[in-house]
Amino acid sequence: MMFFEVLRIELFKIFRRPRTFIAFGAIALIILLIQFALKVNGNEFILFFTDSQTDTFEIPFGGILNGYFVCVAVLHIILVHVPLLVALIAGDMIAGEANSGTLRMLATKSVTRTELVLAKFAASAVYVILLLLWMALFALVGSLLLFGANDLVVFKETDLHIISNTDVVWRFIAAFFFAALALIMIAALSVLLSVFAENSLGPIVATVCIVIVFTILQQLKVPVFEQTINPWSFTTHMLGWKGFFYVEKSADGIAIPGSIENPIALVKSGAILLGYIVLFMSAAVWAFRKKDILS
């Protein structure tokens, strides 16, 4: 019962701070800018992906540029940067209290330290979910209103997938759930780093740096990293939301409606992200229980 009381207070604290709404405002602004850019110059954007095929195929530019396509483009651009917005709140959860001198007082309340850390993490998770719902509202609903609905074309490095518009909505829902899992993992990392810091800047910057370093390692495509670090790097598995937009094809080359290309990989990625959450939160709880709170 005490846990939910602390969670309620933590949520109140999060949504009382003006900076919390910076993230919501930034996301809305970025999405609107991307939608505007695609409305004005969408054909050029599609041509970038289809240029090599314009001699062989009639490219249905008008059809490709629809609300679903724009939403995937928005998520592709934005989700890489959202860890910063998550770290901004989660990294402040404990270090912020230490910095303002309220952590010691909080620890004297009739709530265990484990409950306290878990409630702060849960509050961060709620923030992540609300941020994603906000993003879904603007990116999916907004794009559908602006561009209309049609089949979704997903461009990959060496192939492209066409998904029937009747087979798309559940994929977005699944992708948003997966993205929530990935971002909650970032929140767990931030909370862990926050336990060791006396001001919030450290864990926020550290979280962002860790994400950047692992993303660069992933992008470098160096065989030694591909075989050792990348299969276990959380940045690799954070991209799992895209997996819901990759379809399987039959032996005669036809995309199978309702299918996902290698769903086992998605389950594995989800399990790894969940494992990181458990690992980071266990470490955070252990460290916070041992912590000598001086401020």
């Binding site: 992906f49 090599s52 095929q53 001699d55 062989t56 195929f57 009639e58 490219i59 249905p60 059809g63 490709i64 592709h76 890489v80 049609n150 089949d151 074309v153 461009f155 990959k156 490095e157 060496t158 192939d159 492209l160 997938h161 066409i162 998904i163 029937s164 518009n165 087979d167 992008q219 495509k221 990348n230 690799t236 991209l239 799992g240 939301w241 895209k242 997996g243 990759y246 379809v247 399987e248 094809k249 005669d252 080359g253 036809i254 995309a255 199978i256 409606p257 290309e261 290698n262 990989a265 998605l266 990625s269």
Partner: protein
């Protein structure tokens, strides 16, 4: 539909027959006569729209089966349109219209033996356009001489490679319209610069990216013939 052909159309068909005979004097007369007979049959159709099922089999495209409408207007306008979704239609689908080859006026044609296509003994006719302006450089037609139907065609073009087309016929064979068309064509490699799409690696082997043969299958479900289609539809 066949019964009430106006006299004007009969005269036009005869004129086109004589035109082919006249302009292809260097050709094998038997080949030219066979082509003229086939063309006469295809000329019964001025335009059509047809509902069809489109199956795309290209190594780098994962597309579901789609419902399309095929529009044709004499002599060489053809449009394949996915009304409710997205399809990557090969530009060469224009060659599924046999009038693209049969409508040539300046060419040489030679008989090149026989070959069995789908259990039917066909006469092979090779056609070489003589005009520099033609986009087709060479065409081979495999013609069923009894039913006067093109069962297979191989069309080489100046700009977009070679298209191999096989046709099956059903209830519209009387006017040369197929019930199924399978087209094979050359594809270019598809590869985006690394890192641009930041793909999720789900362990699936990547497509080779090398040029390969693509296939498109069009299964016609219903034709509407000679109702008149506006030219604006094809713009």
């Amino acid at each position: 539909m066949l019964v009430a052909l106006p006299m004007k159309k009969i005269i036009l068909s005869l004129l086109s027959f004589f035109m082919i005979v006249a302009t292809a004097q260097a050709s094998d007369p038997a080949a030219v006569a066979l082509l003229a007979s086939v063309k006469k049959k295809y000329d019964l159709v001025n335009d059509y729209s047809a509902r069809a099922r489109l199956v795309t089999n290209v190594i780098f495209i994962k597309a579901p089966v789609s419902q399309v409408t095929v529009y044709y207007r004499k002599p060489d306008q053809l449009l394949v349109k996915n009304e409710k979704g997205i399809s990557f239609i090969p530009k060469g689908t224009v060659h599924i219209n046999m009038n693209n080859v049969l409508g040539l006026t300046n060419f040489e044609a030679v008989l090149s033996g026989t070959e069995t296509i789908d259990g039917v003994l066909c006469t092979v006719v090779k056609i070489f356009p003589l005009s520099e302006e033609e986009s087709i450089t060479r065409a081979t037609l495999y013609i069923d001489p009894t039913k006067l139907l093109v069962r297979r065609s191989v069309v080489s073009t100046k700009e977009s490679g070679t298209y191999s087309i096989r046709m099956k016929y059903g209830s519209y064979s009387w006017c040369g319209l197929p019930s199924e068309v399978a087209m094979e064509f050359n594809t270019r490699d598809y590869k985006l610069p690394k890192g641009t799409t930041l793909d999720y690696d789900n362990g699936t082997p990547k497509a080779s990216g090398l040029p390969q043969k693509g296939k498109v299958l069009i299964q016609y479900q219903e034709y509407t013939l000679n109702k008149g289609l506006p030219a604006s539809l094809f713009r």
